[in-house]
Symmetry: C2
Subunit: 423 residues, 2 copies
């Protein structure tokens, strides 16, 4: 039996009882003969409370100091978890990101891991300890300052450690049973996916599925580390994410993996743009210079009479006002008539490697939306994904219709709890 | 202008307002031309809350993990304080004990500092930053584990850094105006001491004065670092502790520095001990083997008829039951009749280098107690201190009488707040 990395999110260790429950689960893996390395997030609301304190003492956040502050959160959860494991009669040692050898760049609040030197962790588990590592944090290579990895950072810590330690699997424990064919809060008949490929999981993650973040899946794919997403409450088999089917039972790849939706984007339409070379480049250079990532882009067919066209794109709602500002600033250079801003939109995406070889998928997708009376405003596709933008009010109906049209509905209504995965 | 080390206790940074007030004070020192290094304790009740959490997950505390847990407290206060300083337009960087080069032994929960390598702190202040360092914590030399220094640890961190950085002064900010001639909660007319020698301060600290701990004063004396104890609320000159008078105005050494009292001790009397060589050694070896520190020892004159004597000693009340247990275990070897345990006692101490050359001091002390109707149970003396044990109920009356008899009462009733100094 090899080494297993387990990651527990903030909701799994929200209080003393949660920590004790997680400790039992860790000890089970150890008893089964595994070497166990655990990555843990801060307890429940700790991070929000610390951010609130920071806003009380300073209107401007300092990246370096905010990272120092926030990393106190995992320090608390990891040492408590080590104590809880020891109380069950097993040896445990906790380690900060720095002690665990998580080396990052110097971009505070959203540092990227550039190396993992897990010597202390390896020694600790070789001595028979369960090693408990702070998620979400590292130390910068050049300045030796404490850094944090940003959203989903603990998942990334877990996958990075699993890669560096040659782990058999990286288990991501969360408050849901796994990855579902759609958000179970919206689609009651959503099914848990037993296995999904890295590629499909990446598309789901970029399309609004929140169970795993893109960054973590990308890291796992690069180092070929199987991820097992499962509930810290139920103990059931969850979803395996890997190159080849793994886990309890071999599964055949489905044509469609799932339906994701995202209501966190807004649409900006630049109206009356001269239809000549270089216009689009000017617009998106203006946006890019502000550091904003845009998602979908659609350019209308030019109206022959005027020689003008409209260009629409989507971006995170939180970046909306900055993007508008940037465009207004370059109004003269770009030469558009007006800007339209719309944050009442939703993106619905169908993901599945099988659609490459199944030509009817796009048609079925659009028919399902049409039958449900849902209007399509924008369309964008990749090899294994089709996304459309609709009215936000239509999103639940649209997701249900598509989920059903592709035969993804489960036989029974499952009762599942669905929420965030902490950080 | 040289480098100043300032230490702020938990009560000074108990909330966002406290942190902002402290930040202003730090910036003042910087504006006055000093290089400033700040040592800060955990906010208010943080430590107690963390200890409570630990007790919820594990009945047995692990030293290593408890230290990891508790050090989260300073991590929060120091990063918030750095943010608050930056919000005032000055550059600040926070550092953990480990980053600040506080190297300790491996005794978790009460580690001792064995070296300070303040390279990062020196660089930080040389670059114009205000360096903010976590008190109470360090890193062990051999295992590179996080350690804590135990009670009063932040004061010790401050003095140790001041020594390593060749600071002009170590300012200890607390919630009282300085060191007083007696506990102002007991003696309304207690006066703030402007200057006190290291020696007298050491005796006061071991006699129950809680403003500075013995360990911190001892460190300051060894490296000859002047300490300035002052209020973080009032901004007034406080008490200078140094070899030679320093500070605002030169002061002449008083005959008596102050009156300290301590109600945290208990008295054990070993009754009917054979009065022969080696008996006392057997008793105190039995106690010492348990790691208990005893304070005063008195042996009665032997009763000629029986050849038996009584031996009394005092020790911290918290160690009482362990001492009784140790003595009972050696009852046959020691050969005593019975044990008496009494925790309703108080120790009152008069401290002052001047008593060496003023023969009337002891007499005045005893007369004052006698006039107040206070019975003396034990007496012990050093070169610059006389201590007596009385009933605990008599302590306030006794301290007031002695304070008054030595002319220490101030003209006016001062209103002072008196409390703990955090850790």
């Amino acid at each position: 039996m090899g080494l297993v990395v387990q990651k527990y999110g903030g909701s799994s260790v929200a209080d003393a009882d949660g920590i004790k429950r997680v400790a039992k689960r860790i000890v089970e893996a150890k008893k089964n003969g595994h070497q166990v390395v655990v990555v843990v997030s801060a307890m429940g609301d700790t991070t929000d409370e610390l951010i609130d304190l920071a806003s009380q003492v300073s209107p401007v956040a300092s990246g370096r100091e905010m990272d120092m502050l926030l990393t106190a959160g995992e320090r608390i959860s990891m040492s408590l978890l080590a104590m809880a494991v020891k109380a069950l009669g097993h040896e445990a040692q906790s380690f900060t990101g720095s002690q665990a050898g998580v080396i990052t760049d110097s971009v505070h609040n959203k540092a990227r891991i550039i190396d993992v030197t897990p010597g202390r962790i390896q020694s600790s588990v070789d001595e028979g300890n369960i090693a408990i590592v702070a998620g979400f944090q590292g130390v910068s290579q050049d300045k030796k300052d404490i850094t944090t990895l940003g959203r989903g950072g603990s998942d990334t810590t877990a996958v990075a450690l699993a890669a560096a330690l040659n782990a058999e699997v990286c288990e991501i424990y969360t408050d849901v049973d796994g990855v579902f064919t759609a958000d179970p809060r919206v689609v009651k008949k959503a099914r848990k996916i037993d296995w999904i490929s890295f590629e499909d999981m990446l598309e789901l993650a970029s399309s609004g599925s929140k169970v795993l973040l893109h960054r973590c899946v990308e890291y796992a794919r690069r180092y070929n580390i199987p991820i097992h997403v499962r509930s810290s409450f139920s103990g059931l088999q969850g979803t395996w994410v890997s190159n080849e089917p793994l886990g309890a039972k071999p599964v055949e790849q489905a044509i469609i993996s799932g339906v994701a939706h995202d209501t966190s984007e807004a649409k900006i339409t630049v109206v009356g743009v001269p239809d000549k070379p270089g216009e689009a480049a000017t617009i998106f250079r203006a946006i890019a210079d502000t550091g904003i990532n845009i998602d979908m882009i659609v350019q209308n067919v030019s109206a022959a009479a005027t020689g003008l066209t409209d260009i629409s794109f989507t971006l995170p709602t939180s970046e909306g006002s900055r993007a508008i500002e940037a465009l207004e600033k370059h109004r003269d250079t770009i030469g558009f008539d007006s800007l339209r801003y719309d944050d009442q939109i939703a993106k619905i995406s169908l993901v599945g490697a099988g659609m490459k070889t199944n030509p009817g998928v796009t048609a079925t997708f659009f028919e399902a939306l049409s039958d449900a009376g849902v209007n399509i405003e924008l369309i964008s596709t990749s090899e294994i994904r089709i996304s459309v933008v609709t009215r936000e009010d239509d999103v639940a109906q649209a997701v249900r219709a598509v989920h059903s049209a592709f035969g993804l509905d489960s036989e029974s209504d499952e009762a599942v709890v669905y929420g965030g995965t902490g950080r």
